[in-house]
Amino acid sequence: MKLSQYFLALLCPIILLSSCKKNTDEVAADTRSTFSIEFENQVNGSPLVLNTTTYKNAKGEDFKINVFKYYVSNIKLSKADGTTYLLPESYFLIDASKTESTNITLKDVPTGDYTKIEYTIGVDYARNFAGAQTGALDPINGMFWTWNSGYIFVKLEGTSPQSTATGNTITFHIGGVIDPNNTIRTFTTEINAANPLRVRTDGKPNMHFKVNAAALFTGKTDVSFAALNMTMGGANSVIVANNYANGLFRLDHIHN
């Protein structure tokens, strides 16, 4: 009697688990494939060249960029019928100084036609406070604040003659996940239904995004480097996050 109870107790979760699995299988296709995303870093339509090229912000102030890095995470794809697929463990650090990081590969994606993509610009709340991470989230990447745990979501460093900081530097480290200074922003874009992201076993499409670094400084609030040239979390980071929330990424085209 006792033993059979234990057996039942053991069996129950197994049955539950297998029934869950069935449901997701019905939603998702049972074949999987790969697609890739290329992030083409630009500044107002010109290619981003680190250290040497001078750009202008919306206030007409000159600036150069030495560092430009950002996290893209929790990538979610939707089909026209409304079903969605969240790519598990999808954390990517795009670093303008590392060409290989600007082209990411997403594996094990259920095949199908996707008409919407969304992702977090930055890192979700939980991972900011989780234990020691590895891969894209490894603190070795210089995107983790050690004194106030959490990730830097977007990092832009450079110089501007208008900056009042020592060495005319501009330092924008955007992060923080606690209200009122929460800087987690989600980017969503529809994909033209006539040319959806077609993930096929024999087709591995490439999505091409243009990324405008100057979007940090315009959109909702035009930033003047004379007034704001350094932020590492806090209210000023929120201003910058609100700027780039919609303007940082633009889906340019898809190669199916």
Partner: protein
Amino acid sequence: MLFLSIALMYACSKNEDEVTPEEKKITFSVPVNFPAPVYNFEDNKLSNAGFALGKKLFYEARLSADKSVSCGSCHQQFAAFTQLDHKVSHGVNNCQGKRNTPPLFNLAWQKAFFWDGGVKNIETSPLNAITDACEMGTDIQTIVAFLKNTAPYPDLFKQAYGSTEINSQLILKSITQFTAVLVSGNSKYDKVMRKESAVSFTSAELAGYNLFKEKCTSCHAEPFFTDFSYRSNGLDLVSTDEGRSHITGVASDLGKFRVPTLRNIEYTSPYMHDGRFYSLDEVLEHYNSGVKASVNLDVQLKNGIPLNTTEKVQIKAFLKTLTDNEFIKNTLYSES
């Protein structure tokens, strides 16, 4: 079911004990008068090799910029893993930090770390000291490279994690195997609370305990002797250290610091976030007569905590029952 699995685990550990009788199995034990811990080793399976590696890293001075400072330099076991006689942390190149070194024990019950609670996970806590210019003054990248090229570390990582690969995650997890195992729960106070064989408070200690419950526990809550909140205890009219507001950016947190534990307080002098008080007498006198009307002063301290001479003696007698000599002297935690 639960019983069965516990019995099985017990049997397993027994077997291991038989295989290596000379080596004591490292365990994380929760004193019966403590609640469930926050950190439970779920994603960081405790092992003897992992603990040994973490301990070695903890005492490894070559990890710092000038190879002079290890974690253990400022976290000394005989001082309950804080630094004796140092107001503030004393790091590389003789640099003086700005805050008093916190003691290290019962960290598995803590949700936030450091005086301002800026770090939210025990595993990432060492990064703060590693990178602070006035502590170890280095970075994790340099440390990974050093360990990869320094015997016997690759072998020790292999023993602990099955591969000679070394990365920041494994470094931090192994240090946590050491620091989270540091449990202090065998003070006289604990034994009295657990009604262990013939341990009882003296009349002075008991009187002190009663006074303590009346006047102190609203912040220094049992059994950790802190409620882990951030408060201003009126040390200065205007705090020169932002404290908690440095993390939250909220003005009402200016000058607030985490309520420190009072366990092992006998050994953790000097006291306060800046180590301004060298004796418990000074601390008690502060509450009796020295509390200043700082902007964010905790409302419970509006009138200080009046204490007469006898009461101070009794409270001190009680505070000394929080000393855990078994912890302080446990050779398992000592540099070897």
